[in-house]
C-alpha cells in the first residue's frame, strides 16, 4: 500500500495529466484512430526539441528556454536552403549542417552569458530568447534584401525581407518519407510496431547480455519490447483494427533518428563529459575545486542542447510543410518546457523517459483540448483559449506540484532518520 502511494506521489504530475488527457479524449468526441494519427505526427515533430532540454538540466542549469535560439538557427538553415533552392532530402541535410553550425555559435555565446548569471539561468535564457528574436527579425525583415541584395521567390514583393510563411515544397516529408528501393519508410502502425518491437528487443538484449544491466527495469523493458512484435503481427491481421491500419502511418525513418538521439543522449551521460556535467549540476563549487572546468562544461551542455534544438526545429518543419518565418520559434521554449514538465521532470532532474512521456501527453492534450472545450462549453471561441490556458497552466501546476513534492520528500526524510 505504502509502495503504491509512493509511486503515485512520485509521479503525481504525469498521472494528473494522463487523467486530464483521458477526459479530453472522451469529451472531444474524436475517434481514437484520428487522435492516434495526429499524435504520431506531433511526436515526430516535437520529440527532438524536448529531448534537447535534458543535458542543461543535468548540468544544473535548469530548463533551457534558450532552445529558442536553436529553433531560430534551424530556421536560418531552412531559409538559406530555400534561397539556394536545394530540393528534397539534400535540402534538409544541408539545412541541418548549416543550422548545426549556427546553433553551435549561438549556444557558445548563450553559454558564455549564462556563466555570468549563475543561478538565474532560466530567466536569463528566456530573456535571451526574446532578445535574439529581435536580432532575427532585423536580419530577415531588413538585412535580407535590404542590405544583401538577391532575388528569390521567398522575398516579399518589395524585395526587402522574407515572406511571412514559406512553403517547404519538396522538402516536406523529405525525412519522414524516404524511398528505399521503391518502398516508402512511412508505414502503417502495425508494421512500425513490429519493426520497433524488434529494434527495442535487440537494444535491451544488448543491454542485458553485453552491458550486463541486470536490474529489474531492464528485464521488464525487454519483455515489453518483445511483446510488441506479436502484437503488431496479430493487430495487422485483425479486421476490427482496419481503421487504425489505414489512418495511422508512422514515419519510420524519423522515428529511427529519434531513437538514435535517445541512445546518443543516454550514452553521452555515461562519458567523462557527462559525468562532469552531473558533478557540476549537483554542486558547482565542489566540482570546480576538484579541477573540473565548470564554465566550459556548462557551455558544452548549452551548445549540445542548442544544436539538438536546431535539428529538432528542422524535423518539425519538414513534417509540418510550411515555415512560419517570424513566429515559428517563439513558443518553442515554453511548449517544450511544458512538455517535459508534464512528463515528470523538474528543474533539477530530467530523463529521456520523462521527455518522451511528456511529449506524448502534452501533445495529446494540445490536440484534444480545443475540441473538448468546444463540446463542453458549446462555443468554438473557447477552444483556442483553452489550449493556451492548458499550456501555461501546465507549467505552473507542475512547478507547484514539484515544489510540494520535494517538500514532502524532505519531511519524510526527516521522519525516517
Amino acid at each position: 500500500m505504502g509502495k503504491v502511494k509512493g509511486i503515485l506521489g512520485k509521479n503525481a504530475v504525469p498521472i494528473l495529466f494522463a487523467v486530464i488527457c483521458a477526459l479530453g479524449v472522451y469529451y472531444s468526441g474524436t475517434g481514437i484512430p484520428t487522435i492516434l494519427a495526429d499524435l504520431v505526427n506531433r511526436f515526430d515533430r516535437n520529440a527532438l526539441l524536448v529531448l534537447s532540454l535534458i543535458l542543461p538540466v543535468i548540468s544544473g542549469m535548469g530548463l533551457n528556454f534558450g532552445i529558442v535560439l536553436g529553433a531560430m538557427s534551424g530556421q536560418v538553415g531552412l531559409i538559406l536552403v530555400s534561397i539556394w533552392e536545394i530540393p528534397g532530402l539534400a535540402g534538409i541535410l544541408a539545412a541541418m549542417a548549416i543550422a548545426a553550425l549556427v546553433a553551435a555559435l549561438c549556444g557558445f555565446l548563450a553559454g558564455k552569458m549564462l556563466n555570468q548569471t549563475k543561478g538565474q539561468e532560466m530567466i536569463t535564457s528566456m530573456i535571451l530568447g526574446f532578445f535574439s528574436n529581435g536580432v532575427y527579425q532585423f536580419i530577415f525583415l531588413f538585412v535580407a534584401g535590404g542590405v544583401i541584395h538577391f532575388t528569390s521567390d521567398i522575398l516579399l514583393s518589395t524585395g526587402i525581407g522574407i515572406k511571412n510563411t514559406l512553403e517547404m515544397g519538396t522538402m516536406q516529408y523529405a525525412l519522414d518519407n524516404i524511398q528505399i528501393g521503391g518502398f516508402s519508410t512511412k508505414v502503417d502502425m502495425f508494421t512500425a510496431l513490429v519493426f520497433f518491437g524488434a529494434l527495442f528487443t535487440a537494444y535491451y538484449l544488448f543491454r542485458v547480455l553485453v552491458k550486463k544491466n541486470r536490474e529489474r527495469k531492464y528485464w521488464i523493458r525487454l519483455i515489453v519490447s518483445a511483446v510488441l512484435i506479436p502484437a503488431g503481427l496479430i493487430g495487422g491481421q485483425m479486421k476490427a483494427l482496419n481503421m487504425y491500419k489505414m489512418m495511422v502511418r508512422v514515419p519510420v525513418s524519423t522515428y529511427l533518428l529519434l531513437f538514435g538521439a535517445c541512445v546518443l543522449v543516454q550514452a553521452f551521460t555515461k562519458t567523462k563529459l557527462g559525468q562532469d556535467m552531473r558533478a557540476v549540476g549537483h554542486d558547482r563549487h565542489v566540482a570546480a575545486s576538484s579541477g573540473i572546468h565548470v564554465d566550459k562544461v556548462r557551455i558544452q551542455a548549452i551548445i549540445i542542447s542548442t544544436v539538438m534544438a536546431a535539428l529538432g526545429q528542422i524535423i518539425f518543419y519538414q513534417n509540418l510543410g510550411t515555415i512560419d518565418t517570424y513566429y515559428g520559434h517563439e513558443k518553442v521554449g515554453t511548449y517544450c518546457v511544458a512538455a517535459i514538465l508534464i512528463g515528470g521532470a523538474s528543474v533539477r532532474k530530467a530523463t529521456i523517459g520523462q521527455a518522451i512521456l511528456g511529449t506524448l501527453l502534452f501533445h495529446l492534450l494540445f490536440n484534444v483540448s480545443p475540441l473538448a472545450a468546444q463540446n463542453l462549453f458549446s462555443n468554438s471561441m473557447v477552444g483556442g483559449y483553452f489550449r493556451m490556458t492548458i499550456c501555461y497552466g501546465v507549467i505552473a501546476i507542475s512547478l507547484i506540484l514539484h515544489t510540494w513534492r520535494s517538500h514532502v520528500d524532505r519531511q519524510k526524510k526527516s521522519e525516517e532518520v
Partner: protein, 527 residues
C-alpha cells in the same frame, strides 16, 4: 638513510601580506609516517602556511614567500595545487568537498574517473570516453579497505552521517597514487566525539602505512592522543616544537594562548538553595523528532537562575532538547515555562514566552550571513518585541541611531573583532559570529537562554571568551541558561548542574565536580 630524510621540510618560511608580516621564520620537519600536529589560534598563520605548501595562487599573487621548502631532501617550489598533488601531498579541507548526489565511489574518484573507450569516443575522440563504473567500485573499495572503514562504494554520499563523509574525503586522498603526506585541516571540528575517535584511529593507521600526516587542530586532547610531534604557532611565529612524549596538554594550551588558562571559577553555586528554588522550565515526557538527535521522553526541571548543562555523546538526543523547546523540530509532551504551559512546535510562541535560542547550527539558523552585524543583532528584537522603531506619523521607521549604539555596545562588551557594526557577518571568524548570535539572543531580553554547542569549530581563545560571556550573563542578569555542549570540560567549567542524555533520555543529573567515572557511566546509559 631514507628513514632520516624528512618527507617535508620547511625552512625559515616567511610571508607578508602588504607589509603585514603574518609568518616569520617558521620551520618544520616531517618524517615519513610521522603524525605531526600543528596548532595555534585562528590567525596564527596556519592557513597561510598550508597555502604556501599547497601552492595556492593567492600566495604568488601577493608577492610569494621567503624561505625554502624541501620535499624528500630536494628543494622544491610548488606553484600550483596540481603540482602539490603530483608531489604526493594530499589535503582534506575543513569543508567537505563532496558532490551530494554522487555515490561514495564517484566522490572518491571525482574528476579522476578511470576511463575506457566506448562507442562515442571511437567516433568523437578522447573527451567522450566512457567512465568505467566497475573500476570506480573496485578502486574505492580498496581505498576504503585501507582505511579499515566498512562503507558501500555505491551508497549515496548525501545519506551518510557527517563522520563518514570525512572518511570518504580521506579515502579520496589515499586513492591518489604515491601519496606521502596528508594534510588534515581540522578533521574532527564538525564531528562528534565518537566519530572523532574513528578518525583518529584512521590517522594512526595511515601513519603505520608510512604516510606522514600533518594534523591541524584545536583539540589538544587529540594531539596528545595521536601525534608524535607538535608545533605551536602564535602570531606567525614558530613558538615551540616538541615531542609529545616530553610535554603535557597544559603546556600546549598555555603556549597556544600565550597566557595561562585560568580555570574560570564559577563554582560558588549556592548548593543549599537547591531545595526551594523556583522552577523556570518544567519538561514532562518530551519527545522530539530531530534527525540524528531523537529525544524519547524526557522529564527535566530547570531552576530559575541556574546554568543547566546538557551533555552526552553525539546522536543521543542532547541537541534535540533545546530544539524541541524552541519548536524547531516536531515535538510532543508537556512543557511549562514559569507555570504557564508552552504551545509546542511554534518558535514564535517560544520566543513570546521569553525564551531565546543560540542554535548549534550557526551557519544555517544562527545568522543572515550577508547582513551587517547590527542588523543581525536587532532583527529578532524588532520582529518579536517591536523594538528599535521610531514613529513618524502613521509610519514606523527603523531607529538607526539606536541600532548602531546597541550594536557598538555589544561589540565592545563581547570583544567582537570587526571593522564596525556595518560589517557583514559572513566575513567574521567563527568565534566572532558566535558572539553575534549570543548578542542577538540576549537582545530578546529572555528569561531563559538556550545555548547549544557555542564553541563548536572556534579556536581556544574565542572559546574561553564565549564561555566567560555566558557565565557572566548568568551572573549579572540572573537569566536562566540551558547550555548544551558535547565537551564535558566546558560543561564542568560553567554549569551548576549537568544533565547527561543517553538514548534520548536523561541518564543522570550530576554536579560539575562529580567524578569522571560518574560522568562516564551516565554517558554509557547506566546510572
Amino acid at each position: 638513510m631514507a628513514e632520516n630524510t624528512p618527507v617535508l621540510s620547511m625552512k625559515n618560511i616567511g610571508k607578508a601580506f602588504s607589509g603585514n608580516q603574518v609568518l616569520q621564520d617558521v620551520s618544520l620537519d616531517i618524517m615519513p609516517g610521522e603524525i605531526y600536529a600543528l596548532c595555534g589560534e585562528n590567525g596564527a598563520g596556519k592557513s597561510t602556511l598550508m597555502n604556501i605548501l599547497f601552492g595556492m595562487p593567492v600566495i604568488a599573487a601577493t608577492g610569494g614567500y621567503t624561505g625554502k621548502i624541501y620535499l624528500e631532501g630536494e628543494e622544491t617550489h610548488i606553484k600550483s595545487p596540481q603540482e602539490a598533488i603530483e608531489h604526493g601531498i594530499g589535503m582534506v579541507h575543513q569543508e567537505f568537498m563532496l558532490i551530494p548526489g554522487f555515490s561514495v565511489g564517484e566522490n572518491i574518484k571525482l574528476n579522476r574517473e578511470p576511463l575506457k573507450n566506448g562507442a562515442l569516443s571511437r567516433v568523437f575522440g578522447k573527451s567522450l570516453r566512457n567512465v568505467d563504473f566497475d573500476k570506480i567500485r573496485e578502486d574505492s573499495k580498496q581505498a576504503l579497505d585501507k582505511l579499515g572503514v566498512e562503507l558501500d562504494p555505491e551508497a549515496d554520499v548525501q545519506t551518510l552521517p557527517v563522520g563518514y563523509m570525512q572518511f570518504v574525503e580521506i579515502a579520496r586522498e589515499l586513492d591518489k597514487s604515491s601519496i606521502k603526506l596528508l594534510i588534515l585541516d581540522e578533521p574532527t571540528a564538525v564531528l562528534a566525539e565518537s566519530e572523532a575517535e574513528i578518525v583518529l584511529g584512521i590517522i594512526k593507521r595511515l601513519s603505520q602505512m608510512g604516510i606522514a600526516v600533518l594534523l591541524i587542530t584545536h583539540r589538544i586532547g587529540e594531539i596528545m592522543e595521536v601525534a608524535d610531534t607538535v608545533t605551536i604557532l602564535r602570531d606567525g611565529v614558530n613558538v615551540k616544537t616538541m615531542k609529545i612524549a616530553d610535554t603535557t596538554s597544559g603546556e600546549i594550551a598555555e603556549l597556544m594562548v600565550g597566557r595561562e588558562l585560568v580555570a574560570s571559577e564559577n563554582r560558588e553555586r549556592s548548593e543549599h538553595e537547591d531545595e526551594n528554588k523556583e522552577v523556570a522550565i518544567s519538561i514532562r515526557n518530551m519527545k522530539v523528532d530531530m534527525p540524528g538527535e531523537r529525544v524519547n521522553g524526557i522529564d527535566l526541571d530547570v531552576y530559575k537562575g541556574e546554568i543547566l548543562g546538557i551533555g552526552g555523546l553525539a546522536g543521543q538526543g542532547k541537541l534535540g532538547i533545546a530544539n524541541g523547546i524552541m519548536g524547531v523540530y516536531p515535538t510532543t509532551g508537556e512543557i511549562t515555562v514559569f507555570g504557564q504551559p508552552l504551545k509546542l512546535n511554534s518558535p514564535k510562541d517560544s520566543i513570546a514566552a521569553k525564551l531565546a535560542f543560540v542554535s548549534e547550527d550557526r551557519k544555517r539558523q544562527g545568522f543572515a550571513p550577508d547582513l551587517s552585524i547590527e542588523l543581525n543583532m536587532v532583527v529578532p528584537a524588532m520582529a518579536n518585541h517591536d523594538e528599535f522603531f521610531k514613529k513618524i506619523g502613521p509610519f514606523r521607521q527603523v531607529d538607526r541611531k539606536k541600532v548602531q549604539e546597541t550594536a557598538e555596545k555589544y561589540i565592545q562588551e563581547f570583544q567582537i573583532r570587526c571593522t564596525g557594526p556595518k560589517q557583514e557577518v559572513r566575513s567574521l571568524s567563527g568565534g566572532n559570529q558566535q558572539k553575534v548570535c549570543i548578542a542577538k539572543a540576549i537582545l530578546l531580553k529572555p528569561d531563559v537562554l538556550l545555548v547549544s554547542e557555542p564553541t563548536r569549530g572556534i579556536d581556544i581563545g574565542a572559546k574561553s571568551i564565549v564561555l566567560e560571556t555566558i557565565s557572566r550573563i548568568n551572573r549579572e542578569t540572573g537569566v536562566t541558561i540551558i547550555f548544551t555542549s558535547s565537551e564535558l570540560g566546558e560543561l564542568r567549567q560553567i554549569c551548576h548542574r549537568i544533565a547527561i542524555v543517553s538514548g534520548g533520555r536523561v541518564a543522570d543529573v550530576l554536579k560539575p565536580d562529580a567524578s569522571n567515572e560518574e560522568f562516564g557511566l551516565a554517558m554509557g546509559g547506566g546510572k
